[in-house]
Amino acid sequence: MKNLILRMLGQPTSKSSSDAKQRLKVLLVHDEIDLPPAKMEQMKVEILEVVARYVDVKEDQVTFKLNKSEGEVALVSSVPVRRVHARA
C-alpha cells in the first residue's frame, strides 16, 4: 500500500540499470586482462611515483580504472594536480 501511494505521488524510482552496467564493465575488463586488484594497485603506485617527480599530485583524488567500451580496453585515470614543480 505504501508503495502504491509512493507510485501515485510519482516518487522517483531507482536506476539500478546504470549500477548493473557499471559493475559489468569493471567485471569484464578484469575477466579479460586477468589483472588482480593487488597488481593494479602496484601499477597505480608506480605510475604516481613518476608523475610526482614532475607535478604535485592531489593523491586522495586520484582515480585509476580499466574501462571497456566498443570492445576496446582502456586504462582511464584522473590525476588532479595541485601545482607544477618549479623546475619540472
Binding site: 507510485r7 501515485m8 531507482s14 540499470s17 548493473a20 552496467k21 559489468l24 567485471l27 567500451s69 566498443e70
Partner: protein
C-alpha cells in the same frame, strides 16, 4: 546450401532450449527443413519443450555408437512440415560424444536438412566443445542481467577461438517497462558492452511458460507477441532483412493506470 547453427550462452537458464525449439519451429514454418539436435547429454530437455518426449526410441549416443541408423533416431514433428528432433541421451554424460563424432553427425544431417540447430548445454567444457565442433555459425542467447552478460562475453571469445564467424546476439526476457524506468539494461547498453550484431529481442512473457507447460512452442501461435518475435528472428537467420523494432514507450495515462491496477502489459514489439 545447408547451415549448422549452434545456440549457446555460457550461463544456464537464460533460454537456450526455448530459443532452439522456437527457432526450429519458426524456420520450419518458413518452408525450410530443420533438425534440432539436443547436445545436452544427460540433461535432455529439448524434447519436452517441443512436446515430443513420448516419441523417443533412440538418441544421439545410439546413433554415434552405431546402435541405430540416423533416420531411426530422428523424430518428425507432425505439427509442421520439415521439422525433426534428434534427442539427447538421458542416461549418459557429455564424454560419450567427441567433437569429431559431432562433426560427422552434422555432416550427415546437412545432407538431409537445410538447417541443423544445435542446442548447446550450459558451461564451457566438453558439451560446449561438442556443440561448436560442427557449427558454421553461432547465436548467443543472453538476458539483461550482469551474470548472463558476463558469461555471454566469455562465450563470444570462445566461439571466435573456434574459428567461427562473429556470433549474433539474441536478447531474451527483455522488459521494456523496466528499461524505460531505468531498472533494466537497455539493448543499447548491452550491445555497447558485447559489441556483436543483434539478431533479435524476445520479450519476457507468460506465453513462454504456458507453451512450455503444454509442449507447444509459442512460435506455432500466430496470436502471440513472443511467437512473432521468434518468427522474425527466424527470417533474419535465413538472411531476410527484417528490422528489429523499437519498443513502445510505456507512457500515457492508461498504461500507468493499468500498472497501478497490477495489470501486466508486455508491449508488442510492433
Amino acid at each position: 546450401m545447408s547451415e549448422c547453427i549452434v545456440i549457446t550462452s555460457g550461463k544456464g537458464g537464460v533460454g537456450k532450449t526455448t530459443t532452439s525449439a522456437n527457432l526450429a519451429v519458426a524456420l520450419a514454418r518458413t518452408g525450410h527443413s530443420v533438425v534440432c539436435v539436443d547436445a545436452d547429454i544427460g540433461l535432455r530437455n529439448l524434447d519436452v519443450i517441443l512436446g515430443l518426449e513420448n516419441r523417443i526410441v533412440y538418441d544421439i549416443v545410439n546413433v554415434i555408437e552405431g546402435e541405430c541408423r540416423l533416420k531411426q533416431a530422428l523424430i518428425k514433428d507432425k505439427r509442421t512440415k520439415g521439422l525433426a528432433l534428434l534427442p539427447a541421451a538421458q542416461t549418459r554424460d557429455k564424454n560419450a560424444v567427441t567433437p569429431d563424432d559431432m562433426k560427422r553427425l552434422v555432416e550427415d544431417l546437412k545432407q538431409e536438412f537445410d538447417y541443423v540447430l544445435i542446442d548447446c548445454p550450459a558451461g564451457i567444457e566438453q558439451g560446449f566443445r561438442n556443440s561448436v565442433a560442427g557449427a558454421d555459425r553461432a547465436l548467443i542467447v543472453t538476458t539483461p542481467e550482469v551474470s548472463a552478460i558476463r558469461d555471454a562475453d566469455r562465450i563470444i571469445g570462445l566461439v571466435e577461438a573456434h574459428e567461427l564467424p562473429e556470433p549474433e546476439l539474441i536478447l531474451n526476457r527483455y522488459r521494456p517497462g523496466m528499461v524505460s524506468r531505468g531498472d533494466m539494461m537497455s539493448r543499447e547498453d548491452i550491445l555497447e558492452i558485447l559489441a556483436i550484431p543483434l539478431i533479435g529481442i524476445v520479450p519476457d512473457h507468460e506465453d513462454i511458460i504456458t507453451s512450455a507447460n503444454r509442449g507447444y512452442p509459442v512460435a506455432f501461435d500466430d496470436e502471440s507477441v513472443v511467437g512473432a518475435a521468434f518468427r522474425r528472428i527466424a527470417r533474419r537467420v535465413t538472411g531476410e532483412a527484417v528490422p528489429i523494432p523499437e519498443l513502445h514507450d510505456e507512457t500515457g495515462f492508461w498504461s500507468t493506470f493499468k500498472k497501478w491496477m497490477g495489470i501486466k502489459s508486455v508491449q508488442e514489439m510492433a
